[in-house]
Amino acid sequence: MPKLSFFTADVFTDTRFGGNPLAVVMGGEALDSATMQAVAAEFNLSETTFVMPPTDPAHTARIRIFNRTAEMGFAGHPMVGTAFVLAKQRANLTDATFEISAGIVRVKIERDDCGTPIAATIVTPQPLSIGETVSVDVIAKVLRLDPNDVVSATHPPIMASNGNPYVIAELTSEALARCSPYIDVFKALYVQGEDILQSDPNTKHVSAGLVAMECVIVHDLFLNETANYAHIFLPGSTFLEKNGTFTNAERRIQPVRKVMSPMNGLEDWEVTQRLAQAMGLDWNYNHPSEIMDEVARLTPSFAGVSFDRLDEAGSLQWPVNDAAPDGSPIMHVDGFVRGKGKFVVTDYVPTDEKTGPRFPLLLTTGRILSHYNVGAQTRRTENVAWHPEDLLEIHPVDAEDRGVKTGDWIKLASRAGETTLRATVTDRVAPGVVYTTFHHAVTQANVVTTDYSDWATNCPEYKVTAVQISASNGPTDWQEEYEALSERSRRIETEIPAE
C-alpha cells in the first residue's frame, strides 16, 4: 500500500471541530476505487475526497468524492474543503477548476491580506433540475410523522438536483425536531424472469432505481443485465425442469411437464414459496396443480381448469366454465357483451417526442428473428453468429450529410442519453429515420429511449425517439462505467476453499 499524505478540514465554520468534517487525500491516482471506498469508510467522516492530476492540464485537479458507503457525483462541502486545502499549498491558486464525476466545478478562493485562504465559493457542476414530486404521505411515513407535519404551501415535497439528487420537503419547525428517518418505502425488489435493466426505456432511470434498493433479488435462468444490480441471485429452472402451464395469446392454457429434476434443486414456484415462507406467509402448496386449483376457485373464466382436465384435453382455451366445459376456441360468436359492437371516431394523438435542430432524426428500435427480446437467452447461443452486434441503420442521404460510412463507430444521442454503435448505410430505412435493435447489452439502445409512453396503455415509446448521430472514437462514459460494473458484479471475490 502506498504512503499518501492527507488533511482533515472543518468546512462551513471558523471553529475547529465545528462545521462539516472532511478528509482530503493527496495522490489519489495511486489508489483504485475499492481502496478509496475502504479509506473513506476508515475515516468514517461524512465525506472524503481523493485529489488526482487533472485529465485536462488547464484544470486544477481531478477529484473523487466518497461518503462512508458510496461514491458521490457531487457534494458542496467536499469541494469547498478540498479547495481550501489546495489553496493552502498553492499560494497563487485563486480560481480552481475541479473535474468530478458530475462535471466541472469552478471554485473561487478568497484570501485575507496575508494571503491566507479564508473562504471559497463554488459553482455547481450542473444547473438545478427539478424532478418528480413526492407525496406528502410518503414523506410523513419516511420521517415517522403525521401528514399534517409536512408543509406544502410553498412547494410540494420534490426531487431536486445539481449533480446529486435530493428530496426537498418543508416541515413545521416543531416536526423538524421530532422527525426520525425511517426508510421503509421500496427497500427491495424481487425480479423473476425479466431483464428490466435492458428492456425498460431510459436505462439510467432504471439503474438509479435499482441502485437505491437495499435488496434486489434476481431469479433467472441466466446472469442477465439486471443481475449486475442484484444482491442475491437465485438460479431459475427451465421448462424441462418444472411442472406448470404456459398460457399464450390465443388464450390457450398448455400443460408443461417436468422431464428432469431442476439442476438447482428447486422449481421456480418452490423458490418463490420459500421466499414467501421466509417473510412469514403461510404458503404450503405441494404441487403446481394445487396452485391451479386455487386460480380456478378465484377466477370465473378459469373455473373449469385443472391439471387433470388439461392432461385429458391436451390444452384448453379459456373461458372454461359451466357454459363452456371444453373451453372456448372462439369468443364473441354472435355478438359482444354490449351487442353487435360499437364504432367510434377517435382523433389521432401524436407523440410529444419531437425532432428539432439538436435531435433532427427519429430513432425507431426493433427486433430481428435470431434474437429474443433483450437476448438474455439467445445471446448465449450460436445465434450470435447471425447478429453479433446491434447496428444503426441509416439512409444514404443522412449518412452522406454526416460523413458516415458503413462500419463507422457513431455516437447516438437523445434527450435521455447516448450510446455508441456501428453504422450500416442502407435504404431499408427512410430518410430522417434511423433504426437499431436492442438485443445487445454493450449497446443498450434503451439508454437513448425516453420516458414518453402511449396514453391508453402506458406502453413505452420505443418507436419514436428524437436523436442526432455524430462520429465517435470510443464508447460513452455510461458504456465504460456499465462494462466495469458488469465485470465487477460477475467476479468472485473470495476463493472458495477446496474440500
Partner: protein, 65 residues
C-alpha cells in the same frame, strides 16, 4: 415530469383522443374510472385542475362529485 404532471399529461391525451366522442366528458371520466388505479385518481383529484384541458377538467370535476 413529476407524477402529477404526468397524470395531467395523460388525462389531456385521453381528452384529445376522445374529442370527437358524442359525450367527450362522460367518455373521459369513464376511461379514468375504469383504467386508472386508486393512487392515480387520488393524485389527479388533489390537483386543482392545473394544466388540464377544458374537457379533461370537466370530466375530473364530474368524478369528484
Amino acid at each position: 415530469m413529476n407524477t402529477t404532471e404526468r397524470l395531467v399529461y395523460m388525462a389531456n391525451q385521453i381528452a384529445a383522443n376522445l374529442e370527437t366522442d358524442p359525450n367527450p366528458v362522460g367518455a373521459i371520466a369513464e376511461h379514468i374510472r375504469l383504467f386508472w388505479d386508486p393512487r392515480m385518481k387520488k393524485l389527479i383529484f388533489e390537483n386543482d385542475g392545473d394544466g388540464l384541458s377544458p374537457n379533461a377538467a370537466a370530466a375530473i370535476a364530474s368524478m369528484k362529485k
